[in-house]
């Protein structure tokens, strides 16, 4: 029996990191008796270790709650918890498309941040009703009125009636529930037309295979139906449908307006892509829901096992991760320096970091990663064009007519005190100033156009350090522009090390070459011969450092009591050496490859 559409409310929560999204969700689940108190744990919806530790949401999840309003009626709430980070903008936009409303959580001590703003605009674009909420009123530095003014001034939303809450203490969270009923419209959509359901996320379940998280926009989906993916045309038989309690709970059907999961013996999440529409194969809808696009990786890097023998384990780990993350791409590549590994593509920097961390933690792998790269467009003298995401694949400079690099539009919100420092940073990163707006007396929104390849190194860290952590940042990809780019190579004892090569702007090549050479000089252990380190563009050497030779490596004393210890020391030395990479005659530790990344 379908739940009355009028009594359904589908919403998400928009908040900046640490502004209290997960805590508010926890309180809502408590108040609606969705989860028994004794089973409650903090950040209930963030199930991955990394999510809990970093306080971020990587995968979208959802939960169904039942709330009895002051009108005596019981409402079905579907809360969709979305990732908030810029890397996952597309996923966020699809999750928003599955809702009619968004609860906007603003920290009463901090006000609005760049990412929040970006997501609010995204929500407004999707036609969502916004329910502003002021959180953390229990803190001494809370200024709820100020936060409300900011919402009204910056976003232009009336916020005078916004509940002032403390999610931590549970204060006034009831008001939020009441406003969701009153402000968020019930789902529209007709029940008597062919099925159209939006996939807003998909996960891999060890027992059920790939599960699609869906919002039924029209019609009904039930077990036994044949469904069709409107993006790929592939058909599957539905084995189970169900809802999130937040644990998966099978139901008979999902009808118009409802949120739940569909299991259809789909092997990999790459076959159930975010943004796709599923319909009834026997009675298909004419048009898919709008907005599907393929999420394309923007940042690439090489990932290699620290110990070459772990190549197979690395491949198995990537195979498993991609089951759950269709936006991760990888293909085998080889490097002279690092041996066999994979060229991996990511949605952005955070995505890259998360994947690396999950590989190391969940699969217990030791990795060496190369400097990240973006996709460059290269036009050769013979008129052919190609794209390059690995510096090693760049043609010889004599064959290149011109190159293009991707630009982004970056919004930076900061207290006005740091405007100077931030503009200086953007200037250093080859940014082009576009606009600056005072949001209020002492907060500024700065708009810059920046090359993506400058952002992928240390931009975010620098932004945080130069603004004492106050500035926030969001970006979106713009167009490709022609740029004077060169490949910067490093030679160790005369041998080129392909894994250290990067593509940089010509104006920055000299400084970068020198800085990396200096860093390499620090991290390369001294060997029995002198090691010249050279930075080169084409054939031209632009910087040189030297690692001095070590003169002696021997234990002065070794008598009866020293033998066991000496043997252990040698075994350790051997272990360390095994983890070194051999570039011609030079042994290189893993840190050397990271050093290219950590240059200011």
């Amino acid at each position: 029996m379908a739940y009355s559409q009028d009594l359904i409310r589908n919403f998400c929560i928009i908040a900046h990191i640490d502004h209290g999204k997960s805590t508010l969700a926890d309180r809502m689940m408590e108040l609606t008796d969705t989860v028994a108190l004794r089973d409650m744990e903090a950040q209930m919806l963030d199930t991955m270790d990394i999510e809990r530790e970093r306080g971020i949401t990587i995968k979208a999840t959802a939960v169904r709650m039942f709330y009895t309003h002051t009108d005596g009626k019981q409402y079905m709430f579907n809360l969709i918890d979305t990732p908030g980070h810029v890397d996952f903008t597309y996923e966020v936009s699809r999750a928003l498309a599955a809702c009619e409303g968004a609860v906007l959580v603003v920290d009463a001590t901090q006000g609005i941040e760049a990412q929040t703003l970006a997501n609010v605009y995204l929500a407004l674009d999707n036609g969502l009703e916004i329910v502003p909420v002021i959180n953390k009123i229990d803190l001494p530095s809370a200024d709820a009125e100020h936060a409300i003014r900011e919402i009204e001034d910056v976003i232009g939303l009336p916020a005078a009636d916004a509940p002032r809450i403390s999610a931590k203490l549970g204060t006034n969270v009831n008001e939020v529930l009441a406003q969701i009923v009153e402000l968020v419209p019930p789902p529209a959509g007709r029940a008597d037309v062919p099925l159209r359901a939006l996939i807003f996320d998909s996960i891999y379940d060890n027992y059920k295979g790939a599960l699609s998280y869906v919002r039924v926009k029209e019609g009904t989906v039930r077990a036994g139906m044949r469904i069709r993916s409107m993006a790929t045309g592939r058909e599957f038989e539905v084995t189970e449908v169900g809802v999130f309690t937040p644990a998966l709970k099978p139901t008979d059907e999902l009808s118009t307006g409802e949120v739940g999961y569909v299991s259809a013996s789909i092997k990999s999440v790459s076959e159930t892509k975010v943004g796709d529409t599923i319909t009834d194969a026997d009675n298909p809808a004419a048009e898919p829901l709008p907005g599907y696009k393929q999420a394309n990786p923007m940042v690439f890097c090489g990932i290699y096992p620290a110990d070459g023998a772990d190549y197979e384990s690395l491949r198995d780990a990537l195979d498993k991760l991609v089951l759950n993350d269709a936006s991760l791409s990888y293909e085998p590549e080889t490097s002279m320096a690092l041996g066999f590994g994979f060229r991996c593509g990511f949605l952005g920097l955070l995505h890259m970091e998360i994947i690396q961390e999950r590989l190391e933690r969940e699969f217990d792998l030791d990795l060496v990663t190369t400097a990240p790269s973006v996709i460059y467009k290269v036009r050769k003298n013979d008129g052919t064009e190609l794209t390059v995401d690995n510096p090693s694949n760049l043609p010889d400079p004599s064959e290149i007519q011109s190159m293009e690099e991707p630009m982004v539009e970056a919004h930076i919100m900061t207290p006005s005190d740091y405007v100077g420092a931030i503009m200086e940073l953007c200037q250093e990163k080859r940014g082009v100033f576009r606009d600056m707006k005072y949001i209020e007396e002492n907060r500024v929104n700065i708009l810059y156009e920046l090359p993506l390849n400058e952002i992928i190194y240390d931009f975010f860290d620098q932004l945080k350090s130069r603004s004492r952590g106050y500035a926030s940042f969001d970006y979106e990809l713009k167009e490709y522009v022609q740029s004077d780019l060169v490949k910067l190579d490093f030679l160790l004892n005369g041998d080129m090390c392909d894994a250290l090569s990067t593509i940089v702007h010509r104006d920055k090549a000299y400084a970068k070459g020198r800085a990396v050479a200096e860093k390499l000089q620090e991290v390369i252990p001294r060997q029995q011969f002198e090691i010249p380190i050279q930075a080169a563009i084409g054939g031209k050497i632009i910087a040189r450092e030297t690692v001095r030779a070590v003169r002696k490596d021997v234990l002065a004393k070794c008598y009866g009591g020293d033998i066991t210890r000496k043997k252990k020391l040698l075994e350790k030395q051997k272990e360390g050496k095994k983890r070194m990479r051999q570039i011609g005659t030079v042994s290189l530790p893993s840190e050397a490859f990271m050093s290219v990344l950590r240059i200011n």
């Binding site: 490596d553 004393k557 070794c558 009866g560 020391l569």
Partner: protein, 381 residues
């Protein structure tokens, strides 16, 4: 060959570079010696019978023991173990703790080799590293030892000391040569973390000589010693013909030895297995255990697998300038060394670090400078 080692963990005061366990408080010395006597009986009863070719009193500072103690320990050793009549019996001595009476006692007890911890002939350097003696103390005790009948005397030197020059080191060598020392050990200083010297150096109160100078001390010291007739027979040891330390050579032959006393180590074949074991490093545990009639082991003896025993034999043998005797290797393991380590021997030879001549595998001078690196080739990948 088999050696007996006796450890005396006491020192008058701790040197600034030392990170070994030793006690400056001598109150427990009597109890410790009593425990040593008990351990001798316990070990003698527990271990296979063995005739010993060498005895070594090491420390710490064995010469800190009061008059009579060394003679008593030597008698007890002879009572519990078979000591060969021609055994080399060495005692380590600090020039600041010796005197004529003790030297005569050592001779009477059958001790025939004296190893003196001189370290430097330069009083300023001795002060820097916290030694309790001065060069004059050494000369005086050296003369006494000769007078008492010692004909086999060694001195330790250190190089790479704060403020030391290449000339200082060469001068020290020349001085010892003129005095007529039979044996010289030359160790490069290692500044161990946690020692007072480490604090001095990292805090800037002392500065070490430049690395190139330390290397020169090593190279030129070695050449000078050889010119003066001291042949290098191990990485840090030089001797006039016939005066190489038999006790220490036994370690480098990977021979059997029994260690007695606090934190002393042993290696021997028991029921066909090559075993290593060590005594506890806690003084109170050591004394209590011996008093209760229980051998004061730190843990169960460890059986060394054959492949590791082979590696130990290589690791220790390649410290000697004459290297590993291929015949001895064959006799011990029933295999040719070149069949066990074909790759290592080939690659090190190509590198100019290893040569095979006179039925032995040995490292060249350059190979000895990089002995650690050379040994890695013998470890499994």
């Amino acid at each position: 060959m088999a050696g007996l080692y006796l450890h005396i963990p006491y020192c008058k005061s701790k040197c600034r570079y030392c990170d070994f366990v030793s006690f400056a408080d001598c109150e427990s010395m009597g109890e410790y010696c009593a425990a040593l006597l008990k351990e001798m009986r316990l070990d003698a009863a527990a271990l296979p019978k063995q005739a010993y070719d060498t005895v070594f009193f090491g420390g710490g500072t064995p010469s800190i023991l009061p008059v009579g103690a060394v003679a008593m320990l030597t008698d007890a050793l002879r009572a519990s173990f078979e000591i060969m009549p021609d055994a080399e019996i060495t005692i380590e001595a600090n020039p600041g703790t010796l005197n004529e009476t003790k030297l005569r006692e050592y001779r009477a007890a059958g001790i025939n080799r004296l190893s003196m911890g001189l370290q430097s002939t330069n009083d300023a350097l001795l002060e820097t590293i916290g030694r309790i003696h001065r060069y004059a103390d050494f000369v005086q005790n050296y003369e006494c030892a000769r007078a008492a009948g010692f004909t086999n005397i060694s001195a330790d030197l250190m190089y790479g000391l704060p403020g030391q020059t290449v000339k200082d080191h060469l001068d020290a060598i020349e001085t010892l040569y003129r005095l007529g020392l039979n044996h010289i050990s030359a160790y490069s200083l290692i500044v161990e973390e946690g020692t007072p010297l480490y604090t001095d150096v990292t805090g800037g109160a002392e500065s070490l000589p430049a690395e190139d100078d330390v290397y020169l001390m090593h190279r030129r010291g070695m050449e000078f010693l050889e010119t003066l007739g001291y042949a290098r027979y191990e990485i840090s040891n030089y001797a006039k013909p016939g005066f190489a330390s038999r006790h220490n050579l036994n370690y480098w032959e990977n021979g059997m030895y029994l260690g007695l006393g606090l934190n002393s180590h042993s290696a021997m074949r028991i029921n066909g297995s090559w075993m290593r074991f060590a005594n506890t490093e806690r003084l109170s545990d050591y004394i209590m255990s011996c008093n209760q009639g229980i051998r004061p082991l730190a843990s169960e003896p460890e059986a060394i697998p054959r492949a590791e025993e082979m590696f130990e034999t290589v690791m220790l043998g390649l410290r000697k300038t004459e290297g590993i005797s291929e015949a001895a290797f064959r006799l011990r393991f029933g295999e040719e060394i070149e069949d066990v380590y074909p790759e290592a021997l080939k690659s090190l030879a190509t590198h100019g670090w290893l040569v095979r001549d006179n039925g032995a595998c040995r490292l060249t001078d350059e190979g000895l400078d990089f002995q650690n690196e050379a040994l890695l080739a013998f470890l499994p990948d």
